[in-house]
């Protein structure tokens, strides 16, 4: 466990050694704040449901930028060879990197806790819905990150890994827009694999086993594929 945390710590600190992390954090904070005030002002609702929808939409675009370097950079600079010739297992490497990216994602979401405090001060929000909304956002983000890390393990080129992440996330996020062109089992598959079909329940205060299985199995699947591609030195 110590090594997983060492790698996670190094991964998290590596974000802050480039301007990208600061830009992402600032842009995310500005956009979230802007939408929070617009949504609350227009709807007059003491709810964060629409803010969460904006957040998940933005994460589809932000996460591939965050994760594109995770393995691609290590491969391009040769540090992957260093990691893999130390007495560290490939599972520790994958989990450490995943946790590091997840921690950065947490830092991006954490400031939005202020929105809840604002609602709590000026109104009586539905605490349970906000809590499940945050759980939904975090588990969805964790899934996005696992997809991004998996794609990063497939290429030495960060741009290629970002494009692969965008392709998969767009497919999973926007697939319902094309559902009318499909029928039968294809339609069912698209409905089940669509992210929004599973994130919506969290936003309205529901935690279902089916949604949890979808995200957790998705995360595990991506991490296992990442591990396999590291094993195969792809």
């Amino acid at each position: 466990m110590r090594k997983i945390l060492d790698i996670a710590k190094k991964e998290l600190s590596s974000y802050f050694r480039t301007p990208i992390a600061y830009i992402v954090l600032i842009v995310a904070a500005i956009v979230f704040n802007m939408f929070f005030f617009i949504i609350v002002d227009n709807s007059q609702e003491a709810s964060l449901r629409d803010v969460f929808k904006v957040m998940e939409f933005l994460f589809v675009f932000i996460v591939p930028i965050l994760t594109m370097k995770v393995f691609a950079e290590e491969k391009a600079t040769g540090t992957m060879e260093f990691l893999m010739t130390t007495p560290t297992t490939n599972n520790q490497i994958v989990l450490g990197k995943y946790l590091g990216s997840l921690a950065f994602f947490g830092l991006m979401v954490a400031p939005t806790g202020v929105y809840y405090l604002i609602l709590e001060i000026f109104s009586s929000p539905d605490r349970a819905t906000i809590l499940t909304g945050y759980l939904g956002i975090l588990i969805e983000g964790a899934f996005f990150i696992s997809v991004g890390i998996m794609c990063s393990s497939w290429s030495k080129n960060q741009i290629v890994s970002a494009i692969l992440s965008y392709s998969i996330l767009f497919m999973l996020y926007f697939s319902l827009s094309f559902i009318k062109y499909f029928s039968g089992i294809a339609e069912q598959i698209i409905r089940y694999t669509n992210i929004m079909s599973h994130s919506e329940n969290f936003l309205v205060g529901l935690i279902t086993v089916s949604d949890l299985i979808y995200f957790i199995s998705g995360i595990l699947f991506c991490l296992v594929i990442t591990r396999v591609s590291i094993d195969k030195r792809i």
Binding site: I7, K10, S14, T77, G78, T85, T88, T89, R233
Partner: protein, 310 residues
Amino acid sequence: MILADNITKYFGAFKAVDSVSFEIGRGEIVGFLGRNGAGKTTLMRMLTGYLPTSEGKVIIDGKDMSKNPLSIKRNIGYLPENPPLYSNMTVKDYLKFAARLKDITPKQILACVDRVIEECRLEDSRGKIISTLSKGYKQRVGIAQAIINEPEIIILDEPTSGLDPVQISHIRDLIGTLEHKRTVIVSTHILSEIEQIAKRVMIIKDGRIVKDDSLENILCSDNRKDIFIKVAGKEELIEKAIRQADGFKQINIDIVQDDVYLVQAENKNNILNYNDLLQKLVDNGAKVLEIKQKKGSLEEEFLRINRLKL
């Protein structure tokens, strides 16, 4: 200590390393020589456990790399061809990270970092960001991470590539200090460097080891038993003496000054015996001023094996 048992590596249909076997004992310094693409790096990567073998086994201290990778890797320090550095980290932070990954206990980490910083002469760079360092310093940081856990086996892939002569000399000295204490495998294109560092040389060609011998034997191999004799006397009598001498054949004769000649002769026998040659020269009224055996160079042997002309 290190046993490569018939190891082979395929990349798709391409055989990068072909049925290589050797044994390296504790404390040996071994040089891997080969042209680009000969298979040196692939071989080193299999020895470090970075690449699995397609066939055969890598056994370190009696343990099979495929079955005990972690315990074996604890005893190996590896510097890949391009130093594996996190360019945005400081030297100290990078070495601390390397120490943690190499199972050094938290209490010992700082002491180990200080030790390698001193050994690799990185004192004035410890707080610097790695990307700001010169190539030579980056190479030193790479070596520092390889030796931070005092591994028994150190594998260095082109440790001096791109360095200036002073930096090369320092890294050579550093490797020299490891002799007898550690088993070191070094690969390089710089043949003169191997001559100065290694005691044993393996020449690799097309994924196979085509020569594995001590440096001394390679330099004194049979095909380089030419001798040079500086001799005073009459040219025709000198030539006659060499013709009469058992086992020698004259190759060339140059005049150095009046009645002084430099003769190059080839020794046709396996055992060098100058007595008969000297006797014949004396019998023919010549005076031997100097006699020396031509010393072969690793470069000649390397080029001969790779069928290139000097």
